[in-house]
């Protein structure tokens, strides 16, 4: 890959770049929720763009895989935003770095197939989420925070937050 200036996310190390914030956002009002629902669309678009960059012209992505990824991650991203607020401009590089991993795993799982299907998309997502949880657990341990199963998904941020 061509050498780039930051903030190009292709230069960050995925294993060091996940959000580990535990700051929480006060309960958002209905108006704030509506605004976050609008903003989450930009974030999902941004991640789809990044997945496309990494997949490149190596293969295509089935529409069923697009539907699955959107349904899965829009919900998670919105849950993260409802918990932490919209921190996208701070977190963008970190989160899109995880999208790079998602795309690479999906390409790998689609080897021998004509395209990335929903099954490859699901398997890639499972890998990424496992990675994020392990990373979050390690980060929490380093920071002396709670590493229980209940706390880790929140610490892991966008990709692993369960609504």
């Amino acid at each position: 890959m061509k050498t780039q200036e930051p903030p190009n996310p292709f230069h960050t190390d995925v294993t060091d770049s996940l959000s580990t914030s535990t700051d929480t956002f006060d309960s958002p009002s209905p108006v704030e929720i509506q605004e976050l629902e609008r903003q989450v669309e930009y974030i999902v678009d941004d991640c789809f763009f990044t997945v496309g960059q990494v997949v490149g012209m190596r293969t295509t992505v089935d529409y069923e895989a697009v539907i699955w990824w959107r349904d899965h991650y829009r919900e998670k991203f919105l849950a993260a935003m409802l918990a932490f607020g919209n921190r996208w401009m701070e977190d963008r590089s970190n989160v899109t770095s995880v999208a790079i991993m998602l795309a690479e795993r999906a390409v790998r799982y689609s080897e021998g197939k004509p395209s990335i299907d929903a099954e490859a998309a699901r398997r890639a997502a499972a890998d990424v989420e496992r990675h994020c949880e392990l990373h979050a657990r390690r980060a929490a341990r380093r920071q002396g925070q709670d590493t229980s199963d209940a706390a880790v998904p929140r610490i892991a941020g966008y990709w692993c937050t369960y609504p």
């Binding site: 678009d45 941004d46 763009f49 997945v51 960059q53 997949v55 490149g56 529409y63 959107r70």
Partner: protein, 116 residues
């Protein structure tokens, strides 16, 4: 699914296609995303209400236009490190001009061209 719901999946599909053509050589400025989303959401919804939702039939053709949009953005970005709003506007202008010319050649009404 209503057109207003379906259009969000279609836009995600198109952002992925644009990214495929851009590749990893350049990043995308975040302010381009709301601009492209607002522009093409309106165009796509207009086309869907005028012609019905035919995404599965049109997907191949429309995502090819998405990849063309990415190629034009890459071209206009030249040696800039990222695709900025000005670059995105130039790329959109190229694509929409091409679509209008194509629609005129095929004798289709111009609004339909905005989804192709």
């Amino acid at each position: 699914m209503t057109p207003a719901q379906e259009v969000d999946y279609i836009l995600n599909d198109c952002f992925l296609a644009v990214g495929q053509a851009v590749g990893t050589q350049k990043s995308l400025d975040f302010d381009v995303i709301p601009w492209w989303r607002a522009r093409y959401r309106a165009f796509f919804l207009h086309a869907m209400s005028a012609n019905g939702n035919s995404w599965l039939r049109d997907r191949h053709r429309v995502t090819a236009v998405g990849r063309f949009l990415g190629q034009r953005a890459l071209h206009h970005a030249a040696d800039k490190p990222s695709i900025d709003l000005c670059t995105a506007e130039l790329a959109s202008s190229d694509v929409e001009t091409g679509c209008r010319m194509n629609a005129e050649r095929e004798g289709e009404p111009a609004p339909h061209a905005s989804q192709a």
